[in-house]
């Protein structure tokens, strides 16, 4: 091996602590990168394969009732490949040992033996026997959450008839990977499940013989989705079609896509942080290394090593660190990727997993970290190459200190010599001081950012459950009922307050923009549920026009007072033009796509009489069981949402977010500490001789400690405002970057987060400076003086 390479390896070994620390950051970064990208790619591919093998449909449509004879006409629509009709109905389930009513979606099972759509993958048990009237197959997450298995049974009320149903199989379906009760914030496997039943049995139960209320179809390759949607809507208008929609509006698909996209975008947010940290740490390491190598560089050049050879020598040093980190990271990432993907596949209940890891991912890691390494090392390697041999041979000239502008200020004369040294040193190395300042600021920002996410979720929960929706239960009916039915519910024992509402599917149009939304009609005086205005205060609904979320208004380009077109997708499918008379708060995805209206106004626009589709209830907690029992036995009720249960689901979600905050916090804390300690260390080593001289003339360790600590404190204080601004921006990027249409929460960053970051940064300063204190005690004055001779 060449002598220079031996030197490099021995130098790496000598500095093993720092080298290893940086290498570990690279390993962690690359591992996470490879693992996450591998996972995301695999999930994407698995999902595609799942959809394909189980024939997930392209277009979906719910109707009130349409005859089977319509099928040939649907199939004849240009672009349609295959049509599958079915029956779907919401039911309330009564499961032994569970007090609350459970919501179920009863779906006709895909036809047996025929090439059907949205096929089932049976995990356990078997398919339903043809014509069996009491057999169901249930979704796996629901089965797991409620400990149901083939052989279990429960009750369901089908069209007023209480029936005992037996579970014969547990299955997965591409159509119901994620699915929750409409109107809830997050899917809840315990309180909502999909049940498949024999088609004939279902059609008898719901009076749908020779008819269907649910339609799915696939498109021919290259067919225009929007054209088919339009024709389909026209064809099924008279049968109560509520508007056909494609995969992008399919809840399960959209949620799953959202999650995968979220994962992918979080990689692209986290990766640059790692890269920045690596570049920064390498920069610190190399600046110091090259500085201590001055004389050697002079020797190399004096003996005829060229600038390029010298640059290559130091470049190789960085390269070895980066390469070792990247290779280890790639191996670890590839190894861990499979297990992580398996965990995700399990979480999504994919029936199989197609794991893939593209070499492109490796290439990306190599290039990204190569560039980060280069950026980190370039300035010091360049200065090594450019160092004139004659200059390098001499000990570095004393840095040129000058009287600075701040010295002209009056207070300067009041400062002691130590403080002057501290201030001049910061000003003397503006680039390094600025770099450190930015480093600390970036670390503080990284520390603050995750608080933004948990803070936002917390804020969203508070707003939703304690300001906007304060009911205990929301009950929905199978179909519109007269408003007077509220009275029936109030009569139930334990019901303290009841407020009716009407939910209608519609399309809102403004100019060329159009979107499917839900219109919620309720009384302006409601106190249980009420929309909030932009300041978070309850909003009294205007008696005319609609109230629209800020996000929706911005998306449509609507201003207060503008007229929008509403196309009702239910009832008589009327088209109405109404003014936007209020703007509501958008605090969660769900609220973006809900338009509020005075119930009277809505009913008069729809001309179908004074009706409601559901009721919000405030109940006496001591009489919960009786209310549940009553609700389970009321035939007209097809859905019951317990808000306490939704809240605990959301709290669980928040808990997961908090876990992430803690992990991120540890990582950010390591960065803050690393940056501050590194800076303290370099500043100390650089001024070792200066400090030795101070000790010699009679200064004490504490005065030197004061200089080190003071300098760090000044830089940290200066970095704080920048770090806070950075943290806010970073939080915003995190919440916006990972947002999708289904899940989006506006940023809420508590002032506390800044305080915690500030305290932590100061603690890092103290701990770093204590580490330096030990080194101050070990300064060998005699040795320093000998060298200076």
């Amino acid at each position: 091996m060449r002598a220079l390479n031996k030197k490099m390896l021995r130098d790496l070994w000598r500095m093993w602590g720092q080298v290893l620390a940086i290498m570990l950051v690279i390993v962690v970064g690359v591992t996470a990168f490879v693992m996450a990208l591998g996972t995301v790619d695999s999930l994407d591919i698995t999902r595609k394969a799942y959809y394909q093998r189980y024939r997930f449909a392209d277009i979906f449509l719910a109707v009130r009732r349409a005859p089977e004879t319509l099928v040939p006409r649907i199939a004849a629509i240009p672009g349609v490949q295959q049509v599958a009709t079915g029956i779907a109905h919401n039911v309330v389930l009564d499961i032994d040992g569970i007090d609350e009513p459970i919501n179920g979606l009863l779906v006709s099972s895909p036809e047996f033996g025929v090439a059907s759509l949205n096929n089932l993958h049976i995990r356990r048990g078997r398919m339903i026997r043809p014509k069996a009237t009491d057999e169901v197959v249930i979704t796996e997450p629901f089965a797991q959450a409620n400990q149901l298995a083939p052989g279990s049974s429960f009750y369901a009320t089908l069209k007023g008839q209480r029936r005992k149903l037996y579970v014969v199989g547990v299955a997965l379906s591409p159509e119901y990977i994620f699915f929750g009760v409409p109107g809830t914030l997050a899917p809840d496997d315990r309180r909502f499940g999909v049940l498949w039943m024999d088609r004939e049995a279902l059609s008898h139960a719901f009076d749908l013989d020779g008819a269907f209320n649910n339609l799915a179809l696939t498109l021919q390759p290259g067919a225009s989705e929007s054209a088919v949607l339009k024709q389909l809507d026209r064809l099924l208008l008279d049968y109560g079609g509520v508007g056909a929609y494609g995969r992008s509006d399919h809840v399960s698909h959209a949620t799953l896509s959202g999650e995968i996209d979220q994962l992918r975008s979080s990689i692209h947010i986290v990766a640059p942080i790692f890269l920045g940290v690596i570049a920064f740490l390498l920069n610190m390491l190399m600046l110091r290394y090259v500085e201590t190598e001055r004389k050697h560089i002079g020797v190399f050049k004096a003996f005829g090593y060229s600038n390029i050879q010298v640059a290559w020598h130091y470049g190789k040093f960085v390269l070895v660190i980066v390469a070792a980190g990247v290779v280890t990271g790639i191996v670890a990432g590839a190894w861990l990727g499979r297990s992580v993907t398996e965990i995700y596949a399990e979480h999504y209940h994919f029936p199989f997993l197609e794991y893939t890891l593209s070499p492109l991912v490796f290439a990306e890691a190599v290039i990204a970290y190569g560039v980060a390494g280069l950026l980190g090392a370039i300035s010091s390697v360049y200065s090594a190459a450019k160092l004139q041999p004659a200059v390098a041979m001499r000990p570095a000239a004393p840095p040129v200190y000058q009287h600075t502008r701040i010295e002209r200020l009056g207070f300067w004369f009041a400062l002691d010599q130590s403080t002057r040294m501290m201030l001049r040193h910061i000003i003397r190395w503006p680039v390094r001081s600025t770099m450190t300042l930015f480093g600390i600021a970036a670390a503080i920002a990284t520390f603050i950012a995750p608080f933004g996410i948990s803070g936002s979720v917390e804020q969203m929960i508070n707003t939703h459950f304690f300001q906007a929706e304060r009911q205990d239960l929301t009950v929905s009916f199978a179909q519109e009922r007269p408003r007077s039915s509220i009275v029936d519910l109030i009569a139930y024992p334990g019901v303290m307050q009841a407020e009716g509402f009407r939910a209608v599917l519609a399309k809102v149009r403004f100019g060329v923009k159009e979107r499917r939304i839900t219109i919620l009609g309720q009384r302006p005086g409601n106190t249980l549920t009420r929309p909030l205005d932009n300041t978070g205060q309850p909003l009294t609904l205007p008696d005319r026009g609609v109230a629209m979320s800020k996000t929706m208004a911005e998306w449509l380009g609507v201003r207060l007072g503008d007229y929008v077109t509403l196309e009702f997708l239910q009832g008589r499918r009327l088209i109405r033009t109404v003014p936007v008379t209020a703007i509501t708060a958008s605090y969660v995805g769900l609220t973006f796509f809900t338009l509020y209206m005075d119930l009277d106004n809505l009913n008069s626009l729809m001309t179908e009489g004074d009706v409601i589709t559901g009721v919000h209830l405030k109940t006496d907690p001591t009489q919960k069981l009786q209310i549940y029992k009553e609700l389970k036995e009321t035939p007209s009720i097809t859905g019951v949402i317990s808000h306490g249960a939704s809240l605990s689901t959301m709290r669980r979600l928040l808990g997961e977010t908090l876990k992430m905050t803690v992990i991120n916090g540890i990582f950010a804390a390591a960065i803050i500490f690393g940056v501050i300690y590194n800076n303290a260390r370099i500043s100390f080593v650089e001024r070792y001789n200066e400090f030795a001289a101070m000790l010699m003339v009679g200064f004490g360790n504490s005065e030197i400690y004061y200089i080190v600590l003071g300098e760090l404190t000044i830089l940290t204080l200066a970095a704080m405002p920048l770090g806070c601004i950075g943290g806010y921006i970073f939080s915003w990027v995190l919440t916006e970057g990972t947002a999708n249409e289904v899940f989006r929460i506006p940023l809420h960053l508590d002032i506390q987060a800044f305080g915690i970051a500030f305290l932590f940064a100061l603690c890092s300063v103290v701990v770093s400076s204590i580490a330096i204190l030990r080194q101050i005690a070990q300064i060998d004055i005699v040795e320093v003086l000998k060298i200076n001779e």
Binding site: A3, K6, D11, G298, A302, F303, G304
Partner: protein, 246 residues
Amino acid sequence: MTAYMIGAQAVDRSPLFAIRNLTKVYQNDAIAVHALRGVDLDLYEGEFVVLLGPSGSGKSTLLNILGGLDIPTGGQVLYRGVNLGDLDERKRTAYRRETIGYVFQFYNLIPSLTARENVALVTEIVSDPLSPEAALGMVGLADRMNHFPSQLSGGEQQRVAVARAIAKKPAILLCDEPTGALDSATGIVVLEAIQEASRKLNTTTVLITHNVAIADIADRNIFFANGNISEIRINTHRRSAQELSW
């Protein structure tokens, strides 16, 4: 053609270095430091020259310019007819690599490399070098080759530095106060090594010292003051290093 006395013999040949009106100014912010103020000097092949003079008189600056480490501000330094000031970076590196051997006051060994590896650092990049073993043998350190600098005494470290300088069989050996950090006995051993090597390899040697006692081992003593040559003395009775004492 210049007639000149080297030792007791009169020779008649062209100089290895022809230095004409050489100036060097260091510009440091607002202050200009004139390190050399129009030096004229010829150096001959195989000659042993000692430069003497107070600190800041320009000795080291001249040495650095001869060694291709520094560039003159004005005047000429012709090495075998080529002006060093005209060389670009690449050519100057090649000149240093193939022509110059350097010995520094503070040894400047690479602490992470053994004696042999320190020498190999140089032999690896030049054509036709001595082997590191041979070079170390020449300075009497054949048995210490695998020691790291920290395991060697100051004198031994400096002899490794001499071995490193001569291993490439340089045409010119430049020594900047090679004994400055050593006691007299150790210093004499190092001077012996330099003298021996330059004799065996017929190297032109330029040595800077503050120690007038060392001047006796040279063919010529050149005295510097104030950025210029104040006096040149020809040494008619060259002494070997062993005969010195201080």
